[in-house]
Amino acid sequence: MSYSVKSMGKRIVLGAAAALCAVGTLAASQEGERTVKVPSLEVKERLQSIEQINVTAEKPVQEQAPISNAVAEALREAELLDTQTRAAETRGTSTERAVKN
């Protein structure tokens, strides 16, 4: 008896024993794909310990000049856009308050 199997896009013909082997391998590989990795107890403990670390340090900002005119220009443009957005948002909030009152 022989079986026809499609592998890597090519059709190959196998004997019965080889076909059984191939089916077993396929089942094993599908089983492998379903495997979920679970952290070991020690890794879990270390992750929990890390998660407990509270990252709160605030460092005073140092004045630092941009390294090029292109960087300075991009930062100036960003600052201008942020100022305009803040002003628009403040106007919006005031208008909302006025409408409510």
Binding site: K37, P39, E42, V43, K44, E45, R46, L47, Q48, S49, I50, E51, Q52, I53, N54, V55, T56, A57, E58, K59, P60, V61, Q62, E63, Q64, P66, I67, S68, A70, V71, E73, A74, L75, E77, A78, E79, L81, D82, Q84, T85, A88, E89
Partner: protein, 226 residues
């Protein structure tokens, strides 16, 4: 007197002497997906990303610094690597600091449920509200990802520093020549020596590394809380 000079080394440990290295796999701890709070932030960022990048002009939903963010991103694409790093570092550091100290969590009946410590902000949250220490480093990480930087060359690195109270976060970047730069929220970029830092742990979207060399699982973990 000699004992006094030796004290900082005892307190800060051996890593202080060297520069941060991406090379060692010895400190690898776990896939990022197993770090619950960070995984949640990565997932939320992926969901918000499209909206974040659509804010090229002021309008509905484009609040805070979303518009300037997209403009800076567009400008950065035409710059050299060093200029990109400088621009992102200075731009993100201009966000106002907001403290997210630990909050006690209670249920409706007033029973204490626990303490919520770090919450990693998404880039969208950081730009529309504010951020605290670690959020500056993660915001830079997400911004460099938009500029096409490889996650394997970046880590959000939690540190301790002399003369700084509490834990601090910086973004560690590996450059094409192998040099590692630390981008700090005080605007400085540490290029050569990282002597003042003690490395605690690091993460990117793929992995978590535990750099603590004195971890004792039988002591119930070192909380390191301040």
């Amino acid at each position: 007197m000699g004992l006094l000079w030796g004290l900082p080394a005892l307190v800060f440990g051996s890593e202080m002497a060297g520069a941060y290295s991406f090379a060692s796999s010895a400190d690898y701890l776990a896939p990022a997906q197993q770090f619950d709070s960070w995984r949640d932030t990565l997932k939320a960022h992926a969901e918000e990303r499209e909206q974040l990048l659509s804010c090229t002009e002021r309008g509905a939903g484009c609040r805070g610094r979303l518009v300037s963010f997209n403009r800076v991103l567009a400008r950065a694409r035409g710059l050299s690597t060093e200029e990109q790093i400088d621009l992102v570092n200075l731009y993100i550091n201009r966000t106002r600091y907001d403290d997210d100290r630990p909050k006690r969590l209670y249920d409706e009946a007033g029973n204490k449920l626990g303490i919520q410590r770090n919450r990693w902000a998404t880039l969208h949250e950081f730009l529309t509200r504010r951020g605290d220490c670690e959020d500056y480093a993660t915001a830079k990480y997400f911004m460099f990802r938009e500029l096409g930087y490889d996650p394997d060359d970046m880590r959000v690195l939690i540190t301790r520093e002399r003369n700084v109270r509490g834990h601090h976060a910086v973004l560690a970047m590996r450059l094409p020549d192998g040099a590692v730069w630390l981008l700090d929220s005080d605007n400085r970029i540490r290029k050569g020596s990282h002597r003042s830092y003690r490395f605690i742990y690091a993460m990117n979207e793929r992995s978590v590394w535990d750099h603590r060399d004195d971890y004792d699982p039988f002591a119930g973990g070192r909380a390191d809380s301040n």
